[in-house]
Amino acid sequence: MTRWHLASLRLWIMLLAVVQIMAGAGFVLGIALFFDHIPVTAALFVSTGVPVINLVLVGLILGPQLVAQQKLQQSYDFVRSLPVPQASAAAAWYTVCLLAGLPAVVVSLLIAEARYGFSFSVSPAIAPAVLLTAFTGTMIGYGLGHAVPNPMVTQLVTQLLVFVIFGFTPILFPAWQLPHWLAVVNWWFPFGHMAVIVRAGLTTGLVAGIGSSYLIVAAWGIIGAAASAWALGSRG
């Protein structure tokens, strides 16, 4: 099934890779244009938040849009009629999303080091952080694609998610820069926490409260997976 997903993305995998890298590089380099001299902490926050965007872009945004497209083109029933266990199909899609995000993560980090002149202190904690962030992003997107019956609603929600994630979640900047109420709201959502756990694997002493962040990101991953399992197992 992984080969099926990879082949189904073939027409735009190159474009996707370019968009991923441009998005990463764009944020890393673009934010610096707002300042005469960008503070090191701000540069670190941006540079360690960008990998989260790279990791969730395909699974969270593109994934549900592809499912919505299958529903609109009425090919969804064929895909669902294939004898693939739900867990295998989800694992295959997760693998593809992870593979699609990792190269851009590496490029974004290298560009950040070159631009700002610092070195990341990469620790083994980066591995579970990357795997869990990609998993949760993919599962939320998977749930959104399969559990929302109306594909037009799915497409609208994913577009809203792009707007909300880039503008109003503490991924590229610290949560304390948000208005208090918005920081509180964000605490219950996984995106800021994804940045916390990824940041913890790339820096030393920049973030705290890693345990609760892992829990919240994992909880959202489970919610997304459960919603997908419910939707795919539901027989109307």
Partner: protein, 328 residues
């Protein structure tokens, strides 16, 4: 041709792999009966037509067979398997070609066929051999390495058929398989459908095309408003129309339906066509009437012939197979 059947390992002989639907009812919401107590059985090797107008409930029935919907009541069984209780078995044992285009824009034809065969559990070498056989048999070798987005509708349809049947289950469900396929390859396609039957698959053919179904199916069911209203061989269903003829008139565009003589047994208007059934003994009167309509400029031509399955379909459903509701 070495066609493998996915479930052979279960140790069942072909005769024990009958498909049975018993009292299948699907109710949406509280009142919409999409299927109403449908019972039918199909033996391995049979090509079984499911005919009916749009909204009759054919797709709902198919989706219950392949495990995408659960019947509100009733049972669906295939050999030793209860497909309602075990939707995973349904997906393993039944393969489905939907009417919608297959999602193969970014796949090469041969790749899509082989990948589907592998997903359905076929071994690499056997799937490759069978894919090659299908590609050759359907005469689509010129497109084997072409991306799906560059295919014409007909070739895409044949690629879809090959994907579904490269490693078929015990039941093969084909929804309008010949749509968009050119007449030459259409014959090759029907040959392959018959071969599936000969190799022990039970083939469901879901179609509006009554004329084509008449030539291709062993038995058929006509479904209307969620109910199975007739079932049998094409000949047995036509038996009720023995002694009758079909008189079809092509009316001039926008002409009103002419007044019908009292000896016209039934009629249906579909676009410019007025299809009537008359007694064999009244053939001469029918010809005079039709010639009179042409003479008065109300009709352009007529055809008189034996009744067909289409006439049975019209009589039972009030629709023509072109699927416009008839003005009966």
């Amino acid at each position: 041709m070495a066609l493998s059947i996915a479930a052979t390992e279960a140790g069942q002989s072909a005769g024990e792999w009958s498909f049975r639907a018993e009292g299948v009812t699907k109710i949406y919401g509280k009142t919409l009966r999409a299927n109403d107590a449908i019972s039918l059985s199909v033996r391995p090797g049979e090509v079984y037509g499911l005919l009916g107008p749009n909204g009759a409930g054919k797709t709902t029935l198919v989706k219950q067979v392949i495990g995408l919907l659960k019947p509100t009541e009733g049972q669906i069984k295939l050999g030793p398997f209860d497909l309602v209780a075990d939707p995973d078995a349904a997906r393993q044992l039944c393969c489905y070609l939907p009417q919608a285009p297959m999602p193969i824009d970014s796949f090469r034809v041969k790749e899509a066929i082989e990948l589907t065969g592998r997903i359905r559990g076929g071994g690499r070498a056997e799937v490759r051999r069978r894919a090659g056989e299908l590609i050759e048999a359907l005469d689509i070798g010129g497109w084997a390495d072409t991306m799906g987005q560059r295919l014409s509708g007909g070739i895409r349809r044949l690629a879809g058929f090959s994907m579904v049947t490269v490693w078929p289950g015990r039941v093969v469900i084909l929804d309008e398989p010949a749509n968009d396929v050119d007449p030459l390859r259409r014959r090759l396609l029907w040959d392959q459908i018959r071969l599936l039957g000969q190799h022990g698959c039970a083939v469901f053919l879901v179609t509006h095309n009554v004329m084509e179904a008449e030539k291709s199916v062993d038995r058929l069911a006509i479904i209307s408003a969620g109910r199975l209203i007739a079932e049998g061989t094409p000949s047995s269903l036509k038996a009720g129309d023995r002694g009758h003829l079909r008189l079809q008139l092509m009316l001039v565009p926008d002409a009103a339906t002419p007044a019908l003589p009292p000896w016209v047994r039934q009629h249906v208007r579909a676009g410019h066509n007025l299809i009537t059934t008359i007694d064999e003994a009244g053939a001469a009167s029918g010809i005079r009437w039709a010639a009179g309509l042409i003479g008065r400029g109300q009709a352009e031509e007529y055809a008189l012939g034996a009744t067909t399955l289409e006439d049975v379909y019209v009589r039972l459903t009030g629709h023509t197979s072109a699927d416009g509701p008839g003005e009966a």
